[in-house]
Symmetry: C2
Subunit: 399 residues, 2 copies
């Protein structure tokens, strides 16, 4: 890849003119490692901690760009909303070359805020018939048409440069847990070498590269991986390979062992996480960025997040309930009664998934806003404590 | 039904205070019977001719209320957008009693514009296992759970008063065509008697009753039916039983034979029609209101209406086309390329149906706006002629 795909529209965001990626910590919590910061990108400043809605196939499922922007419209501290795109999916369909030809992912999906693309490593692990992984590449079969595809670290970067995302993730070697210590060390060390290869292959000055810490549930391996990656010029650091079935306390333990070894002056991203409580526990350990399909996928399945606990809208108990999901929520779903929302799901109407997706994204963004405000106000521990109680009282939230 | 379901929110729209339904003709076309008018309802003034999007199950499929309002937002002459709800569907699910209990259909679906509800007659004809029809009632089995239901003219009005729509349609006897003249006369005369029974059963002063002209493709029977119905105090008149498979010229012929026998001072509604050219041919014959699932259903199936003719977005020809569906269309779909829209359909993303639904509704509303403007400007015949040429050049548009 030599041609930049999506040149920034305004001179003020011209990535090449000044170092376009800067993390600034604005405040630290007194009782935890939570931090309130801002991460500058060519498509706007991201106020952290923040949640990134998942737009796998160049769309956050079921919502237009305007509706997506509405999920943060009432939050005074949001300057730019960042979303996530999936390299694996986009490379297979419609193809990254087409997206490059159409002006890059921002223009293709008409999203002028920041975009992070993952590397494809996790989808290769979770979706594909993986045929072989060696030092050179991961070889797998497409989940769409079964054709054989080779993905190298260099190719992952090439794809992401074609997409023109603000943040590219390095290709990592994700393995299933539990695994032997030997297998975890092997995959982790390969991930570090691949991260370095990604950095060497990168050419776009307007795209940040985030490394990914692996190491399974082993604190020593995680810490070593973090220190190894921290020696290189990545613009941010992610923690991958978690939230893959382990109990949440195990994940929190690994976060506690990992974050202290990551550079203070760079943003930290916990990949694929999670429930509101998981995000708050992550924030308490120093994490700045999160992504998860839970608000969108659960919303499509009729499941709403609320401060009173989860609601399953298909349940008969909502049949004639005139109340909105939440009394003070500004989202389009909360202009309706629970009775109406239940009717939409029972009748199989598209508007049900659309409205609950919007509500859940609005809820997630509100949690992040509350976390940012609480860190500034010195009340983050109380917010965390409230959500620990809420989570403890709930049934498992995944549907 | 004795309790009104949805009392108007503002005193200024209090239906009981003054006669709430008035049709005023603002201008007549010189070369055709087209007319530009306004129909006053408790939920706003409808500028005619107009198209009513179909919201079968208390939602126009795939669009939020805000997005629906956006489809007419750039049309300066639109003061209130009217939509259609389906009595049959709503009575079966979630049930009209529930909707009444939730404050009526306007409040239930959070739509503050006018709503017209059909009588259920057409759905009983087209969707149900119809078991028996006699002078008293239509008896049929629910398409959802198979239970036996009896629908009388009185019950249809009771349901629609529970829903609290602005306009209720009378229950009519719809028969399949072709049919013997004897069968057509029998069903038509029954429809006239049932219309009278609906009028007798009606009690809401804030709800208009529209009669429905039947008579198959027989001009004499249609004219007689129109004259019979015109003797009663209906607030409007519909033409039903058309667009059920007959060639379009047959429908136009019946319209030409029917409209002259309807009162000048009342609005006319051609039910379930149709393609843009069908609506324009209807306007030329004096019709004011239309409804059809075509823009929404075709949109969900990847079919876009444009002034250059129809586009099938799944086609490979759109793969790398950077153009929007239409260059000057203000809809959310037209902020994207055809390539992006095709990707959404190929990838099975909900956003494809959502965006094409919005485009097609915007297109239909624009056609109606152009018709209103053309009647005022004396150029309606030219608009009609352009669309005759466009329709002649097309393949059939239904998908």
């Amino acid at each position: 890849m030599t041609e930049p795909a999506d040149p920034p529209a305004a001179a003020s965001t011209d990535a090449a003119s000044t170092a376009p990626f800067q993390y600034q910590c604005l405040a630290r919590d007194v009782g935890t490692d939570a931090r309130r910061g801002v991460f500058t990108t060519p498509h706007g400043d991201i106020q952290t901690p923040t949640f990134m809605p998942v737009g796998t196939q160049a769309t956050v499922k079921g919502v237009t760009g305007d509706l997506l922007r509405q999920t943060t419209a009432t939050l005074p501290d949001v300057t730019a909303q960042i979303i996530l795109g999936n390299t694996y999916h986009l490379a297979l369909r419609p193809g990254h070359e087409l997206i490059r030809q159409m002006g890059g992912l921002h223009r293709f999906m008409n999203w002028d805020g920041p975009i992070l693309t993952d590397s494809g490593g996790f989808q290769v692990f979770s979706l594909s018939a993986l045929t072989k992984i060696d030092e050179h590449a991961a070889v797998f079969r497409s989940h769409i048409d079964g054709r054989k595809i080779e993905l190298t670290p260099e190719h992952s970067i090439e794809i992401q440069e074609s997409l023109g995302s603000d943040i590219a993730m390095v290709l990592d070697h994700v393995i299933a847990l539990p695994a032997s210590t030997e297998a975890v060390i092997d995959a982790t060390e390969r991930s570090v070498r691949w991260a370095q290869r990604c950095l060497n292959a990168a050419s776009r000055p307007d795209q940040a590269r985030f490394a990914i810490v692996q190491g399974g549930l082993d604190e020593t391996i995680r810490a070593q991986c973090a220190r190894d990656l921290a020696q290189h010029a990545f613009e941010g650091f992610a923690i991958g390979g978690l939230s893959v079935g382990e109990p949440p306390p195990e994940m929190y333990r690994v976060l506690s062992a990992t974050c202290p070894h990551l550079p203070e002056e760079k943003p930290r991203y916990l990949m694929g996480v999670g429930r509101p409580i998981d995000m708050l526990e992550g924030i308490a350990r120093g994490v700045d960025l999160f992504d998860c399909v839970m608000p969108t996928r659960n919303g499509r399945n009729g499941f709403a997040f609320t401060d009173e606990g989860p609601l399953k809208l298909r349940n008969a108990v909502h049949r004639d309930d005139p109340r909105p999901l939440e009394a003070n929520c500004p989202c389009p779903a909360c202009r309706h009664s629970r009775a109406y929302l239940r009717h939409l799901f029972v009748a199989g109407e598209m508007l049900g998934p659309i409205l609950l997706t919007l509500h859940n994204l609005t809820y997630y963004q509100r949690i992040m806003h509350q976390a940012r405000q609480a860190i500034l106000a010195g009340t983050f521990s109380e917010l965390l404590q409230r959500h620990r109680q809420l989570a403890g009282a709930d049934k498992p939230e995944a549907v």
